[in-house]
């Protein structure tokens, strides 16, 4: 048996993050007041990983570790967005975690491992690699939700998240095992080839597909696998909710691309109809349920469900009656959607964090009352985020909706587009309610906002990015399309 040394080059960023995680652990253990240091090291890790990813990006599709791992443009691009959003999450959450005595080494280490898990998910070319990445992410997130040990709500949320998450992982594994049974391989491109050559038992394959889609739907948080979202979003400390509501959506999108598009593209007709079902249910239920919420974290949770439904609209429009030339357009519109959503999600929870301070969780709609009188600028930022989420131009959310809807119409599902736009009207109501509370009501609490300068600057830039990308969405749209070109 001869041992071949694998090519580490395509996985350099992951290896760097692993190495840095040890450094952060050591720093946390031995430094006296380690908070500032671990924070800086974590940001440095993300920055370094970004530099390495940029440096090693060559536009080719490189496989390594016996084809278990793939480095392509889609992965590189998604990873860059991932570092960026995790860095923003950490910056936004720092003051909040510090106020609540939760800014510990563990928090940063867990964040780094969650990031690593997402990176592995994004670049997996093997079902087991994908599963490992997913579990690394999930376990880190369970622990992060439970970070606030003495809060009954957070512990309950963590428990719920863990139990349901484990169930979903089980479904996914079961599906994977069936796919293995049908095709005899776990390598994603191998599975695609095996199905293409008509290998395997069709029934087993279909069962496997159903379970895989179910597991995926849980991770995306789409109806009917959405039960965990409102409770976890509500129960977790807001900074952790911010984490869960942003970067993992990118990883889940990548997972969907790897599993469904790279692996099971031959079965597109089957999984597209499943996704359509999930998407419509999510858009309908997410929007209706959000109306009833008075807690803004729950409301954003339900709104996230409907946004993920919109994202699926793009994924379900790739193949029309065996014709594949819509695929690039459809999948890139989904990718644009998910990136826009992450940007909006970051800003919305960022404002919630901005309003929180020691002893005050600004998580009810009433806490936003009269924000315009307290800070016109951040009320404006939040209003932009809300209009953007409602899909009103000139904000990026409109172009996200526009691009998935044009994919849906191109695929001939005009009735789905009509349902989606009617539901986004329902959605507009609760987004408007936030604007109404901020601008039309009198403040109940006149305390000036306390936040560090870097958070203010970054949150402002985040808001401006939402408006700026709405004025000029072309670059990001093209980047999405370009980065997917090599992976289809």
């Amino acid at each position: 048996m001869n041992f071949v040394i694998p090519d580490f080059y395509p996985a350099a960023a992951e290896l760097f993050v692993v190495a840095m995680s040890f450094v952060i652990l050591m720093a946390g253990t031995f430094a006296k007041d380690s908070r500032g240091l671990t924070y800086a090291l974590t940001q440095l890790t993300l920055f370094g990983a970004a530099a390495i990813t940029l440096f090693t990006m060559d536009g080719q599709v490189n496989f390594t570790f016996s084809n278990m791992y793939v480095d392509d443009l889609m992965g590189d691009f998604l990873k860059l967005v991932l570092y960026f959003s995790v860095a923003i999450v950490l910056l936004y959450s720092r003051g909040y975690m510090n106020d609540r005595k939760m800014e510990t080494t563990e928090y940063y280490v867990l964040a780094v491992y969650a990031t690593l898990g997402m990176m592995v998910m994004i670049t997996a070319n093997h079902f087991l690699t994908l599963y490992l990445g997913l579990e690394l992410l999930s376990l880190s997130l369970y622990a992060m939700v439970a970070l606030q040990r003495d809060s009954a709500r957070a512990t309950e949320a963590a428990m719920k998240y863990f139990v349901l998450g484990a169930l979903a992982s089980g479904l996914l594994l079961y599906g994977i095992s069936m796919l293995y049974g049908a095709t005899g391989t776990l390598e994603i491109s191998g599975v695609a080839q095996a199905i293409y050559h008509q290998a395997g038992n069709k029934t087993v394959l279909m069962f496997g597909l159903v379970f895989v889609v179910a597991g995926l739907a849980f991770k995306l948080g789409v109806v009917p696998f959405h039960m965990w979202i409102p409770d976890v979003y509500h129960g977790a400390p807001t900074a952790i909710t911010l984490f869960i509501a942003s970067a993992p959506k990118l990883a889940a999108f990548a997972m969907a691309m790897r599993l469904l598009v790279n692996g099971l593209f031959e079965l597109a007709d089957q999984w597209q109809s499943m996704l359509m079902f999930l998407a419509i249910l999510s858009i309908v239920l997410g929007n209706f349920a959000a109306i009833a919420q008075s807690n803004i974290k729950r409301m954003l949770g339900y709104s996230g469900i409907s946004h993920m439904g919109f994202m699926l609209l793009g994924l379900m429009s790739g193949v029309v009656g065996g014709d594949r030339h819509f695929a690039l357009n459809a999948y890139s519109s989904s990718m644009f959607y998910v990136i826009s959503y992450v940007l909006m999600s970051l800003a919305s929870f960022g404002v919630v964090l901005l309003l929180s301070r020691v002893g005050v969780e600004a998580e009810n709609l009433d806490d936003f009352k009269g924000l315009n009188k307290r800070s016109s600028w951040f009320a404006g930022v939040m209003a932009m985020v809300m209009f953007s989420m409602a899909g009103i131009p000139f904000f990026v959310g409109f172009f996200a909706k526009f691009s998935v809807l044009q994919a849906v119409v191109a695929a001939g599902y005009i009735w789905v587009a009509v349902v989606a736009v009617i539901m986004s009207l329902i959605g507009a109501f609760y987004y408007l309610r936030v604007v109404k509370v901020m601008f039309f009501d009198e403040p109940v609490d006149n305390t000036p906002l306390v936040a560090s300068a870097d958070m203010r600057v970054l949150l402002s830039m985040n808001g401006l990015a939402i408006a700026g990308l709405g004025l000029a969405p072309q670059a990001l749209m093209s980047l999405c399309a370009y980065s997917l070109l090599g992976s289809l």
Binding site: F398, Q406, V418, F440, M477
Partner: protein
């Protein structure tokens, strides 16, 4: 095409001005915000005037065309241009913006910068709606213009403002979302083009035309507003601050009507012909039934709001009888209504600022203390009732003439508005202005100050000039209207 991009300037000068006003910050700098706003409104008007003076009336094609790629990924272009139909509305809008800024000058005391910025940004966006030649660009401006008005109604509005603001927003959004699907469908059908002018040439089957027509109808009917979907307008008008009511009546309602001419008629001509009886019926209901509703209102703003719906009924009626006289009359009516209803709301605003009441019953004998105001208000009321020699008469008369050629009874029904309109407007005027002074609040009223006198007089001059000599207005639109009707007469099947 001249070298200076006047249309882009007409859009972006007010928007940049609005952002500058916003940047002036808190109410400590309120006067800075006011002056920045006035200057940018005047600059916006100044860059719109060359659009009229440089307009070639003999051509029906688009003029002042600018085109740059915006989102090449979906072939979306920043294409602007005006024809004889739209150029007048750009002018009207830029003009009304100046009036609104002046009307809110010292009346608005809280968050002045945001108030002024809201109107300026809205003005730029509305100029964008009238000059966009790209379907998606139109849609983007159309939707985005909801935001400023939503904020304006909700922040500076009356007691029930939240309800009115949300109703206004959701109603309009409900209509326009279906239009988005229609635009996407046209994008597909035309092989990947968002150009409105390309869509005009697109051959479409009857059932497709029908669906598109309905999608556009829902969107524009809400905006006009037409009879069954008009209920948001009285609420929005009553709760909006004076400036908001002026813009909504003078410009906001014209957007829907403009949409019919730019989208519904030329893109789906056969469906337009097929559904014309329906639209005509709805228009007549608006003219007659809404006219009677206006008669029983006790709130002045609500009365004028209902009278606006009735006047807009004339506009849709004029469009769907497909004769040059009807369409031109409708367009004249739109411009005239812009001046007259704007002036009516401004006048009511003048009273409201002093008394903080819009109830007709709270007034009486105003002429004794406010003679200058009474004279101007009298003039605007007459114009609203359609008195000859005011602009209100010209449009209505042209539409009625066009309708007589189409069908005598349609014309007859429409013409009853001249009676009903006179009844509700003049009866309100009588109760508010004439008679003895009814209470001590009225006796303490002060007459118009210079600012109010100037902007109301300017409006009065416009109304009178257009009533006596409408030729400069009709001359501009003539070629484009004829061309449009020729296009609509040709079946696309």
């Amino acid at each position: 095409m001249t070298g200076i991009p006047f249309l882009s300037l007409a859009i972006w000068v007010p928007i940049v001005g609005g952002l500058l006003a916003l940047a002036s910050g808190s109410d400590r700098n309120a006067s800075v915000a006011r002056f920045v706003a006035l200057l940018s409104a005047l600059a916006g008007l100044a860059v719109s005037i060359p659009l009229y003076t440089g307009f070639d009336v003999s051509k029906s094609a688009m003029q002042f065309v600018e085109s740059y790629p915006w989102i090449p990924r979906f072939n979306i272009n920043y294409t602007l241009g005006v024809d004889g139909i739209s150029v007048l509305f750009v002018l009207l809008n830029s003009f009304i913006t100046v009036i609104v800024v002046v009307a809110g000058w010292e009346v608005i005391k809280e968050k002045v910068a945001q108030y002024m910025a809201g109107f300026l940004i809205m003005s730029g966006l509305i100029n964008g709606i009238f000059s966009a030649l790209d379907g998606l660009l139109f849609y983007v401006f159309f939707e985005a213009s909801l935001i400023p008005l939503f904020i304006i109604i909700g922040v500076w509005g009356g007691p029930n403002r939240v309800y009115a603001a949300i109703k206004f927003f959701l109603y309009t959004l409900a209509g326009s979302l279906l239009m988005l699907v229609a635009l996407l469908y046209l994008f597909m059908e035309s092989g990947g083009s968002f150009s409105i002018l390309d869509w005009h040439q697109l051959k479409l089957g009857m059932d497709v035309q029908g669906l598109l027509f309905w999608a556009f109808l829902v969107s524009f009917a809400v905006k006009v507003p037409m009879f069954p979907v008009h209920t948001w307008l009285p609420d929005a008008h009553v709760e909006a601050p004076t400036g908001g009511s002026i813009v909504l009546a003078a410009i906001g309602l014209k957007l829907g009507a403009y949409g019919f001419l730019r989208f519904s008629l030329p893109i789906a001509p056969d469906a337009s012909h097929a559904f014309a009886p329906l639209i005509i019926t709805l228009s007549l209901i608006a003219v007659v039934y809404i006219g009677f509703i206006a008669l029983v209102q006790t709130d002045m703003k609500k009365l004028v709001a209902y009278s606006s719906i009735a006047h807009m009924g004339f506009v849709t009626l004029g469009f769907f009888i497909f004769s040059p006289l009807g369409v031109e009359g409708a367009l004249v009516q739109m411009i005239s209504h812009g001046f007259v209803s704007g002036a009516m709301f401004a006048s009511i605003g003048v009273l409201y600022d002093r008394m903080h009441s819009r109830q007709i019953a709270d007034y009486g004998g105003v002429v004794n203390v406010m003679p200058k105001f009474a004279a101007l208000f009298m003039f605007f009321s007459m114009a609203n009732a359609g008195l000859p020699a005011t602009s209100g008469f010209v449009g209505e008369f042209m539409v009625v003439l066009g309708a007589v050629q189409f069908n005598f009874w349609v014309a007859f029904t429409a013409a009853t508005t001249l009676i009903v309109g006179a009844a509700y407007t003049l009866w309100m005027y009588k109760r508010v202005v004439f008679g003895p002074i009814t209470n001590h609040h009225v006796s303490e009223l002060t007459d118009l100050n210079n600012r109010e006198f100037v902007f109301l007089s300017i409006l009065a001059v416009c109304v009178l000039a257009m009533g006596i000599y409408p030729f400069p207005v009709t001359e501009v639109m003539h070629a484009s209207v004829n061309d449009l009707l020729k296009h609509v007469a040709v079946s696309k099947l």
